[in-house]
């Protein structure tokens, strides 16, 4: 997708990675046309694949979509045609086409991944992809080139140095890979050892992968490498700095570096002041450089949907109930403030029917009413009134607790375990009961008022139910909003839908062939999203056994998935250290957020849909403004991977839970207010992050050797957290 979108850039010497085009260092205007045949080729390859697999309908559909009238010619070597999948590298996002295929054309980066699965013989594929490296240069001169550039960059003015320093890492990697590809093993090693130390510390993980790779053969199956090759590393550099670099390289006739820059890097040039080191550092760190500005230009309807009008019977019952429970009477938030939000149409909200949503059932309405009632009793949180935290500790979880979820009304808790089980607990006195067997159900008087009670089998009442079905650790669990279903995703590549009435598995959604790291129900039910090791996030509907959308673009595992509160967008966090926001309607990636320095393990949308918080292995929480696609905050404090993030119901407090056994509370309101987002910063995306983590941190609560892996705010703003006690 790189090639398609970067057309308008300053870099007019934009070229396809074809060897024959690289013969000179000058800028060749052959870019635009060359991408067309590539696309065509990809499509043909896809069509062939489909045909081979007898997916006739899909073939037709794809042909229609792509506007290919003519029957494509059958390539003699079927495998070779499949190899064109590799060429998909240069292709744009094949939105729907992608959705039709499972993996082969799913994403440019996946070109090599399926190859081993198909059974070996994938040489053509890889050679297509790697051919860009076939160019020969004097291997011994690489060090000279690199250190020459290094010297130059170190000698330029301070303001440019930081910007140009960004070049080091991608150049280093590409030069190293070129050396490896051309079988200059020893040169590659010495090159690596010499300059490895210069790279930013947040690239260490990648460098480690790279260091293991010393042979051309290794490159075949290495996804990280293919990612690097197929996606252009994006740098954002000011025009001045770029001119400086260009002049230097041309003066020195340093074609080697110039070629790499042109072939493998995408330089996003902006006008204005060069950025400072801290600004650059805050945005960089992802596998493929920063996000291009164009990536984040699409308008995102981040507003909330209008809530359906439901008559809330305001009686005095709840007053009494409140007194009975002995809860301290808190000042109730004004009913209107709650209601008005949903009554008025938010200008940023998507159209109500942009995504078809399931109709409300009676039970849903009842639940909404309950929600409203509870909401009136909600405690208004703030820096002065911190939430109480109730910690649910899983004891004796030898098998390893891997995922936890609470229902929205906080009545049920589900845990996914490494022993493939899913366990559901009732955390209220109400026990879990199964529906009676069919024979028994037949004997029930269906007209009676308490039929819903009668169908339940009292004999099965228990506090905990175990769901068996997966054949691998369960990495994600999610309750449906109506509490009738539970989703679980597992290492075995399936997502299972469980009924919480019968406590049986209803559907196993197969599509991901690799571990599914996370899954989540849409806030309106019906849809759910999943993401896993295959780097593709899928959108499903519970009544379809195939995904409705596939979101391809991440360069590494998708580690967490989250629905936007308005259900129109899906956010995915990935091991490539980026967050992407996808439009459910058309499957487009509408935001790419870079800045994390480690795999992202958790995401949370603010209740108003405007902001996103993300936590990663680097122990930092980053805050994002979705509308502008900007990073607006950085919360430092945790010392280990953050596995849980949650905004309070009104969005005042952000709670984060981490492997370091702490729950931390942050002043979200202040974090969002402190950032001044004027037009300039919005346009350029150059934000000065205030370093105020310590001021925003409202509290740290240490547990006893219990990593916090889930957080949940009840409707009354009580914070629930969960984790397994770790006896070591």
């Amino acid at each position: 997708m790189a090639a398609v979108q970067d057309g308008g850039s300053e870099l007019e010497g934009e070229k396809e990675p074809k060897p024959e085009l690289m013969n000179d260092g000058s800028t060749a205007p052959a870019a635009a046309p060359s991408s067309r045949p590539e696309d065509q080729q990809t499509l043909l390859a896809v069509l062939q694949f489909l045909k081979r697999n007898k997916l006739i309908e899909s073939v037709d559909a794809l042909r229609r979509e792509a506007g290919l009238a003519d029957e494509p010619e059958e390539a003699p070597g079927s495998e070779a045609a499949g190899g064109a999948g590799g060429a998909a590298a240069g292709s744009g996002e094949l939105g729907d086409a992608g959705a039709l295929l499972s993996r082969v054309s799913g994403g440019s980066q996946s070109a090599a991944a399926p190859a081993p699965a198909k059974g070996g013989d994938d040489q053509p594929d890889v050679s297509v992809v790697l051919s860009a490296y076939s160019q020969q240069g004097d291997p011994s001169l690489y060090q000279v080139y690199y250190s020459g550039l290094k010297k130059f960059i170190e000698s330029v003015l301070d303001c440019h140095r930081a910007e140009l320093s960004q070049l080091f890492y991608p150049l280093f990697v590409h030069m190293y890979l070129e050396l490896v590809y051309n079988n200059h093993e020893s040169e590659a090693k010495s090159f690596f050892e010499k300059f490895n130390g210069d790279q930013e510390c947040y690239y260490q993980d990648d460098l480690r992968v790279l260091s293991g790779l010393t042979k051309k053969e290794h490159m075949k199956g290495n996804e990280t490498l293919l990612d690097f090759r197929t996606s252009r590393f994006v740098l954002r550099i000011s025009r001045d700095s770029y001119q400086l670099l260009k002049r230097h390289l041309q003066e020195r006739q340093n074609n080697q570096i110039w070629n790499i820059i042109q072939e493998h890097l995408y330089i996003d040039i902006f006008d204005g002041m060069p950025r400072s080191k801290s600004q650059i550092d805050s945005m960089s760190g992802s596998l493929a450089g920063e996000a291009k500005r164009e990536d984040n230009k699409t308008k995102v309807y981040y507003g909330l949907l209008k809530e359906p009008e439901i008559e809330v019977p305001l009686d005095d019952e709840d007053e009494e109930a409140e007194n009975e429970e002995g809860k301290p009477k808190k000042k109730k938030p004004k009913k209107d403030s709650m209601g008005s939000k949903s009554k008025k149409q938010d200008p940023n909200a998507p159209q109500q029917n942009r995504i078809p949503l399931p109709e409300l059932k009676d039970s849903d309405k009842l639940d909404k009413i309950m929600y409203m009632k509870e909401a009136t009793k909600r405690i208004r949180l703030g820096p002065e009134s911190l939430p109480s935290i109730c910690f649910y500790t899983f004891l004796n979880a030898y098998q390893g607790l891997t995922a936890v979820d609470f229902t929205d009304d906080s009545s049920l808790l589900a845990g996914g375990f490494a022993d493939s089980t899913v366990r559901v607990w009732s955390v209220t006195p109400k026990k879990l009961r199964k529906v009676k067997s069919a024979a028994d159900l037949g004997m029930i008087d269906k007209e009676s008022d308490d039929v819903l009670e009668r169908i339940m089998d009292e004999k099965t009442a228990s506090e905990c139910k175990i769901l068996y079905g997966h054949s691998g650790p369960v990495y994600g669990v999610s309750f449906s909003p109506d509490r009738n279903y539970l989703l679980s995703s597992s290492e075995d590549g399936t997502i299972r839908l469980w009924s919480l009435q019968t406590f049986t598995c209803l559907v196993a959604y197969k599509g991901h062939n690799y571990p599914v790291w996370d899954t989540q129900f849409s806030p309106y039910g019906y849809y759910f999203v999943s993401g896993g090791h295959d780097r593709v996030a899928r959108l499903w509907a519970t009544d379809h056994y195939q995904p409705l959308r596939m979101f391809a673009g991440h360069l590494a595992d998708i580690t967490c998935t989250r629905f936007h509160p308005n259900s129109n967008y899906v956010a995915t966090g990935s091991a490539d250290r980026t967050i992407r926001l996808w439009d459910v309607l058309n499957g487009h990636c509408v935001r790419v957020l870079t800045g994390h320095k480690g795999p992202i393990h958790t995401l949370a949308f603010s209740p108003n849909g405007k902001y996103l918080a993300s936590g990663s292995t680097d122990g930092r929480v980053l805050l994002w403004d979705i509308g502008h696609g900007l990073m607006i905050g950085e919360l430092k404090g945790h010392t280990d991977t953050i596995y849980a993030l949650r905004f309070s119901r009104d969005g005042e407090i952000l709670a984060s839970g981490s492997m370091d056994n702490t729950v931390r509370l942050w002043d979200a309101i202040r974090a969002f207010d402190d950032v001044e987002t004027d037009d300039f910063t919005a346009a350029t995306g150059h934000v000065h992050l205030p370093d105020n983590s310590q001021e925003l941190l409202l509290g740290t609560y240490l547990s006893k050797s219990t990593p916090v892996i889930h957080l949940h705010f009840t409707r009354r703003n009580l914070l629930l957290s969960a984790g397994a006690y770790n006896s070591q």
Partner: protein
């Protein structure tokens, strides 16, 4: 091509468990390293294990590179599974899943939760690591009883925080670590640290509006920490504990004290406990309820022993209570029978402990307490009991002070000196005190035979001597020799004084010089005619011994390490011992004393080691319990080259014992200038504490442990 051909085999089968996990571990450990490759010998070994006999070297190298690369890849994938499993430890199953990801058959039957022990074997010039798989007899397994079924997963809820404050319940970690409490009490302005739970509590109670944050911080300073309400459980606990502590059942009390001393969650209850103790003392002192006072002091001791508590904030309540227990005029209904000295000693030790732990430059507890005691001590009208208490505490404090002085010499120089000054001030007692001393010492005139050793010892190690004093006392207390003894004791004082002067700076010497004389007085005093009961004397031993034991610390620190380097003290010791040879003679005592300085010059030139070692070991039999300690202290003393004495003789000469006899406030300035040249040793300042050593008495074994672990 040959290698190529083998490759599939290698990736599919070659990495046997051992190698794989080894490589993984190596990977983890040496992440930085660029390229770790398995040795080609491993390849050979593996090939052999699979029946491939002759593997060429080239193939081995190529294979090992390939295998290393694959293993690294797998390890990196396995890490992914570890992260998603929310664990910090890589398990075998992670590797299995990673293999599965690569379409490689997982290593079945290799489940282990624990670290896998590898065995090492070498032979035939080859080294191997392997995983030992024992042959298992199935019948054994069948016949063994089934292991207990592990408990099922269960869910437990607790409050991690209530309105922003973390309750101190067993489920939560101790709310505030000791360091934190300390930081809080010593630096109250910094108490509000973001990221600490206190922060939450303050802001939770603060006013609304963001500007209230400052307000909240101010509030903290005013808000007593004790306002936090105790949970019902805590209240119950408090009730149980306090009842047990002062109840009649000793077993229960022991349990309760144990609980207080170890429970990490008492932080919130600390104010209650301290109030309980101080109130309890107040009431029981009036009622002369000795037993309860002792119980309360034990409680306080337990609180101090609790590693998670930092008492400083409550010292204002606790210390007065302790002081009361030390110096109260009457602690029990029948002072002559009841063992109130024990309480005084115990409390004094407690005091010493708290002084040592909590005294800082800002609160100056130590000097304040010293001052308090000094005042009462100087007051002529105070009761003997009170005086006893004062002295006891002195003995405890002073060595401690010196310890402290040694430790933080540079920083604490000021306060230490001032304290010493004060102590010095005490020790210039009014003439009336002199009288008392005389009478006291009269009581403890030892039998001559013991005295001989006693003297030999005295200069070197006071504690030893004390035991003999006690013994002697029990043997015979003859009024007649009172005068004689008095002089004797006091003549010894100057000898110690010389030691004192040696290391300490000239300006300070006057004050320090007086210290030992006070000690002498203390040690002997309790046996005053007014309190002639045998227990009293016994307690003298205890009390002083505590001090002595702590001086052992000094000794251990300074003496053992430095004695061999600085000969001066050794020399002086010998000086002190020699002149006292003729002890029992009544009227001659003064003479001997006055003769002391002169005679001292002579023995000092004699190599001290002889004197040092031999008498010490002779002394052991009487008090065997303490032997180990002393031996450990003494034995390291090497034969000391006695280089010191030369300057000593002149220094001693102007200092006849007479001034001491008349009034201890004499100022023996003369020796100072002479002695100063001997300060060459860098450790001279370290030696200043040592003078007290000879004065302090023998430690009773019961106290040693207490004091040493201070």
């Amino acid at each position: 091509s040959k290698i190529k051909h083998r490759e599939p085999i290698s990736t599919a089968h070659l990495p046997p468990p051992g190698v794989l996990y080894l490589a993984v571990m190596a990977e983890e450990r040496r992440q930085k390293q660029c390229s770790v490759v398995l040795p080609s010998e491993s390849m050979k070994a593996m090939a052999e294990s699979m029946g491939v006999g002759q593997l060429q070297e080239d193939s081995c190298v190529a294979l090992s590179e390939e295998v290393s690369y694959r293993i690294k890849e797998i390890a990196q994938d396995a890490l992914k599974f570890m992260h998603h499993g929310k664990r910090r430890k890589l398990t075998t199953s992670d590797i299995d899943y990673a293999l599965k990801l690569k379409n490689v058959e997982p290593l079945y039957g290799f489940q282990s939760q624990d670290f896998i022990p590898f065995r090492f074997a070498s032979g035939g010039g080859r080294e191997l690591h392997f995983y030992e798989e024992k042959e298992v007899d199935l019948s054994d397994i069948i016949s063994t009883p089934l292991p207990r079924v592990p408990l099922d997963v269960s869910l437990k809820a607790h409050w991690l925080s209530i309105d922003g404050v973390q309750p101190s319940i067993p489920e939560n970690p101790p709310p505030a670590t000791k360091e934190q409490q300390k930081a809080e009490s010593t630096e109250p302005l910094k108490a509000v640290k973001p990221g600490q739970e206190e922060d939450g509590s303050i802001q939770g109670k603060g006013q609304s509006g963001t500007s209230a944050e400052v307000k909240g911080k101010e509030k903290l300073r005013m808000k007593p920490r004790s306002t936090h309400e105790l949970s019902v459980e805590q209240q119950l606990y408090y009730k149980e504990i306090t009842e047990a502590c002062v109840g009649s059942c000793e077993a229960k009390r022991a349990e309760a004290l144990q609980s207080i001393a170890t429970d990490p969650g008492l932080y919130q209850m600390l104010p209650r406990f301290s109030t309980f103790i101080s109130e309890g003392v107040r009431v029981n002192v009036v009622q002369n309820n000795l037993a309860l006072l002792i119980y309360l002091m034990r409680m306080m001791k337990a609180l101090m022993d609790n590693p998670t508590l930092y008492l400083e904030k409550y010292l204002h309540e606790l210390l007065p209570a302790v002081v009361t227990c030390i110096v109260s005029k009457q602690l029990c209904l029948r002072p002559d029978v009841d063992n109130h000295w024990a309480l005084r000693d115990f409390a004094a030790r407690l005091m010493a402990q708290s002084c040592k732990t909590f005294s800082t430059t800002t609160n100056n507890i130590q000097s304040r307490i010293t001052k308090t005691f000094t005042k009462s001590w100087l007051d002529d009208k105070t009761q003997w009991t009170t005086r006893y208490g004062c002295i006891v505490i002195k003995t405890l404090i002073i060595p401690r002070l010196t310890v402290e002085g040694v430790r933080i010499k540079a920083v604490m120089e000021g306060p230490v000196v001032s304290n010493i000054d004060k102590i010095g001030a005490i020790t210039s007692p009014p003439p009336s005190l002199q009288k008392h001393c005389a009478s006291v010492i009269a009581k403890i005139r030892p039998a001559p035979d013991v005295v001989d050793q006693y003297r030999t010892d005295y200069g070197y190690l006071g504690p030893m001597l004390c035991s003999h004093v006690v013994k002697a006392r029990t043997q015979a207390a003859l009024q007649a020799q009172t005068v004689n003894r008095t002089t004797l004791t006091i003549t010894q004082v100057p000898t110690t004084l010389t030691i004192t002067q040696v290391p300490s700076g000239g300006s300070r010497t006057p004050s320090i010089i007086k210290v030992p004389s006070s000690f002498t007085l203390m040690s002997t005093r309790p046996a005053t005619p007014t309190q002639p009961s045998p227990p009293a004397t016994k307690y003298i031993v205890m009390a002083t011994s505590a001090g002595a034991a702590s001086t052992q610390q000094v000794t251990r620190q300074t003496l053992t390490s430095f004695l061999n380097r600085n000969t001066a003290p050794a020399g002086t010791y010998t000086v002190t011992t020699k002149p006292h040879r003729p002890p029992g003679l009544a009227k001659h005592a003064t003479v001997t004393a006055s003769r002391l300085p002169f005679s001292s010059s002579a023995p000092s030139s004699v190599p001290s080691p002889v004197l040092l070692s031999s008498p010490v070991f002779q002394l052991h039999p009487p008090e065997p319990s303490s032997n180990p300690v002393f031996q450990s202290v003494l034995q390291p003393c090497p034969p000391v080259p006695s280089s010191s004495p030369r300057p000593q003789s002149p220094s001693f000469s102007p200092r006849p014992s007479v001034p001491v006899l008349q009034s201890p406030s004499f100022s023996p300035r003369p020796p100072v200038p002479v002695l100063q040249p001997r300060l060459q040793s860098p450790y001279s300042s370290l030696f200043s504490p040592r003078p007290s050593v000879p004065v302090l008495q023998f430690p009773s074994s019961s106290c040693i442990s207490d004091v040493i672990d201070l």
